[in-house]
Amino acid sequence: MYRSNVLVCGGTGCTSSNSLKIVEKLNEELKAKGLEKEVNVITTGCFGLCALGPIMVVYPEGSFYSMVKVEDIPEIVEEHLLKGRIVTRLLYQETVEDDTVKSLNKTAFYAKQKRVALRNCGVIDPEKIDDYIAQDGYAALGKVLTEMKPEEVIQTVLDSGLRGRGGAGFPTGLKWRFAAANDADQKYVCCNADEGDPGAFMDRSVLEGDPHTVIEAMAIAGYAIGASKGYIYVRAEYPIAVKRLQIAIDQAREYGLLGDDIFGTGFNFDLQLRLGAGAFVCGEETSLMTSIEGKRGEPRPRPPFPAVKGLYQKPTILNNVETYANITQIILNGPEWFASMGTEKSKGTKVFALGGKIKHTGLVEVPMGTTLREIVEEIGGGIPNGKKFKAAQTGGPSGGCIPTEHLDIPIDYDNLLEIGSMMGSGGLIVMDETDCMVDIAKFFLEFTVDESCGKCTPCRIGTKRLLEMLEKITKGQGTMEMLDEMEELCYYIKANSLCGLGQTAPNPVLSTLRYFKDEYIAHIKDHKCPAGVCKELLEFKIDKDKCIGCGMCARKCPVSTIHVTDYTAPGKKKPAYEIDPSKCVKCGACLDTCKFGAVSKG
């Protein structure tokens, strides 16, 4: 029996800042002190506060060490683990108050969170099935198989009000009911783990931190609809998630929690992994299934819907990772418990990946109906460097930008649609006053143009034309008529594209046109980029009266386009410099170099 547990985050974020080296060093130091039988070191999934990684938590004290370095480990082992003196200096400083250490759950980042899908992330060792079982793992599967009829399971999921967490928000129970209603010799349960939105990493974190929850939920889904086979379609770019999933599947098989005659009930279910090669379109359900079949990932028209003819032309359900992560808790705690959280039409919680211009970059899970302001300002800690909030982007390339005036809207599926964005998978990118909204729209369009599979014309050619217009505007070559043309084209693409990719691709353009039209107009009419991002519209200048003639900027200039003049400002000793705009590449090196505020951009 261990007297102390040291949890080290082994999610992708912390791993890339060397957390595995920390684990190594910990084990080494513990061994040297003879503590290896008293202190247990566990590599867990994501804690959520990725901005402060690598993260390490010591129990039973619950001490939260942040930004841990390998060099800190000997001190933590010697002081804390050997002598019981918490190294306050290295703790996450928000947990330290007047020399006492307060619970992590009381800090601004965690206080408003409600962890359902992420309940085991940062608690269990994802590579140990026993840890998962200790947290009531596979109890839901046991309950379903021994106490409930398939129809009861579907009704429970339906009553809970759970909606698809992949973005569109289709009621999960309804999807299951459709698939259950279709008779077939073989049905399939699939999991969409092809998380492709730039800046989104909720699904990766669930898979890395708690892979069994997805496996158990898929088996439950299999029982509900009468399927005996399942596939998890996961991105090959998620190596840690893939590895832990495979370990989890192997362990579940070994315990007989996957395979034949589970719990002696005669129910058979088994799972396989399929790795996606990184095409964004494979996150779309029909493309994903085509890809599982080994063909090129391209969408096909619906109907028939997958519940009728899906994978290998058999009835299939496809749910997102986060959707599955809620299922076991709904079964164990009852649909009323789940429905008690959230808003009228969106129940439960939602995980968001906070990114962009925000202090606490990371993963948060909040009840539906939490306002954007609470997420950004309280949980996220606000915007760094004293900048002003401009917009939040939700839903990735399918979503839109939410401006300041809508900060207080309770976030749920329907409210986000109403203000021209969407839930999407839950990426939330915060932008401040130095972000150009036209440039943001262009960034997402570039992404969809790259990722369009090319099967249907509106998406393949429409998005390309749209991008060309945006490029012209950011170069100062736009016209006011272009704005109307763009809007018309957007609606055309939305109405005529074959799959979700094209149908939602114009959203970033439409929402920025709706809320930030003045920025488009500034680009077109004044040839200015108000945020100072679009290079072609920028001009760097030296205020000759402020210039002291030190020549630092001229030396830094990579294209040597800053020259000395024959003008010496009153009170200055040396002649001022000036920039020859004809060769300027607008790198901004002069602006960063000047200590006297003589260089300006605009």
Binding site: Y2, Y59, P60, K83, R85, I262
Partner: protein, 124 residues
């Protein structure tokens, strides 16, 4: 896995280690003084004895064992304080692993303070 009982057995076996990772404000706390004076007097075996015995008796969800610094009465080390919510704190002194087992048994399970090991009995 052929029955729910099998799953339950694994759960029971694995639970104790997981309980350690939960913050439970209502749990009774066993604080073992682990400053230099405590360690020198043999506090580590005492700490481990508490951990083992509490796990053995399945008390991990209601009792947490933690280390603490010097309590200030170095001549009585190893010192152990037990805080049960709603009750007065009890300080045990000159503890040994054998005494620890008895304290878990009498104090934490049967709710009888082992008076003869307390600081009160040892200062008279």
């Amino acid at each position: 896995m052929k029955s729910l009982a099998e799953l339950q057995a694994i759960r029971e076996r694995a639970k104790a280690n997981l309980d350690l990772r939960k913050e439970n404000p209502n749990a009774a706390r066993v604080l073992v003084g682990m400053a230099t004076c405590g360690i020198a007097a043999g506090a580590r075996p005492v700490l481990n004895a508490f951990t083992e015995e509490i796990a053995k008796r399945g008390l991990t969800d209601s009792v947490t064992v933690t280390q603490t610094g010097c309590i200030g009465i170095c001549q009585y080390e190893p010192v152990v304080e037990i805080e049960v919510p709603g009750e007065e704190k009890v300080t045990y002194v000159k503890m040994t692993p054998e005494k620890a087992v008895k304290v878990v048994n009498d104090h934490l399970v049967n709710k009888n303070v082992v008076t003869e090991y307390t600081i009160g009995a040892n200062t008279k």
